[in-house]
Subunit: 229 residues, 2 copies
DNA sequence: CGACTACTGCCATAATTTGGCAGTATAGGT
DNA sequence: ACCTATACTGCCAAATTATGGCAGTAGTCG
């Protein structure tokens, strides 16, 4: 059995077993070594498969691995398509790909007649002003937000004055022309907004910031207007 | 990209393209040679994937093939949420409700941890300029587009000159401040764009227009720039 | 504590994949 | 009838890569 198809087989094997299966059993069933099995499990997880592995127990395919059939009204489909088109047009490119992928996955579980509505949707997003750069950093920033990690950035303010600071990013806002990171700034000890196209360098620190993202967001909404950095 | 995951990627790429894709395009997207792509397609087919390949045309994934992983990634969920937020903010109110409902339905089938991502998503849509009115007519217009019905409208052009005409609406564009119906105008016998806030009255006629919506849209894209009504 | 199991790093070896080329077949357009 | 675009196959040398074994860590269960 070649490596290629083995992953697909592994999924099927996991599906068959409702109860935890040990890695050793899986390895035997697939005819590979235990070491290789661990690698395969890792590969699947990296591709979005939701597999639980517990020491002393074994592996189980978590429920929710597959999308059940979904039903939407025509209007809801149009809303999803329009939203995804906007993201594809105005978000950064990674997010745009994600939007298209999400739509494709939804299409895969839609009844045939609704699937046609997806293509047929004639709601268009008007052409936007070109978006200021900063595309490369955005995935890193989003990742930092998701994992509540500190970011160290080199930043140019509106007068082109350079500063270097550590921030706690917790939100990302998409305006018509610019994108802005909302974060707590350790340098200024307050909430600040950073235009991503003025971030000239950034590094994700392996340090989690000490407060919950949601708490920061909530407090930020209360504070109101924020001075520029 | 290693061979292993590439097959899973290939499935997702195929899912994304609903129309035939050439092998060359797929190979480019995956970053492998054409020769290798043919081998990969073969490997997938050997594992039960139903992929149609026609000489001179390209490949299409036949629907009904639910090979995993078919679950949203965090990024895809963020994209869906961001898109829906934009629709809720900039679309008309009916569409906004539809966007929220669609999201709720998606949330209902998500495993618990992913559902949290949905609520916690911290991608924000910047506040937009207030959108010119015309909210009340939009659902009617969308309905007419979906069912390919003629519309009779009373319209004010940019010099406030009133006209009354019958149009064949087939698309709706959302710009930053205005919304525009794209239609064939029986009065002018050509494609026109109508700002919805300048439509002062409209009535859906019980008559289907004689051409397919998709055909109109295709031709319209070819024509290029359209004069205002 | 001990048994069992998930997981990771390292490394030499072996296997597999890869890409290029040359050639065939089929569909659609002119 | 011809041309282009595409799907598809065989072959082969080169090299990427997967593999398995071992050693070690960490978590769960009893």
């Amino acid at each position: 059995m070649s490596h290629a198809g083995r992953l697909l087989d592994l999924i099927q094997v996991l599906r068959r077993h409702r109860h935890p299966v040990t890695g050793r059993a899986l390895a035997a069933e697939l005819g590979v070594s235990l070491r290789t099995l661990y690698r395969d499990i890792g590969a699947l997880q990296a591709h979005g498969a939701r597999i639980d592995g517990e020491p002393g127990i074994g592996y189980v395919l978590r429920p929710g691995f597959m999308l059940p059939p979904l039903m939407f009204s025509e209007e809801e489909i149009e809303a999803l398509v329009l939203g995804s088109r906007w993201v594809a047009d105005r978000g950064d490119s990674r997010l745009g790909v994600a939007a298209r992928n999400a739509l494709a996955k939804i299409a895969a579980v839609l009844p045939a007649d609704l699937r046609d509505d997806l293509d047929a949707s004639t709601l268009l997003v008007g052409p936007g002003q070109p978006i200021a750069a900063g595309d490369a950093e955005l995935p890193t920033i989003r990742q930092a937000i998701r994992t509540e990690r500190k970011l160290e950035i080199a930043y140019l303010d509106r007068y082109a004055v350079a500063t270097r600071r550590v921030i706690w990013p917790f939100a990302l806002a998409f305006f018509d022309r610019v994108r802005v990171v909302v974060a707590w700034c350790e340098l200024r000890q307050s909430f600040r907004h950073f235009r991503t196209d003025r971030v000239v360098a950034l590094a994700a620190l392996p340090v989690r910031y000490p407060r919950r993202r949601q708490a920061l967001a909530k407090e930020w909404r209360k504070v109101g207007d924020i001075p520029d950095p």
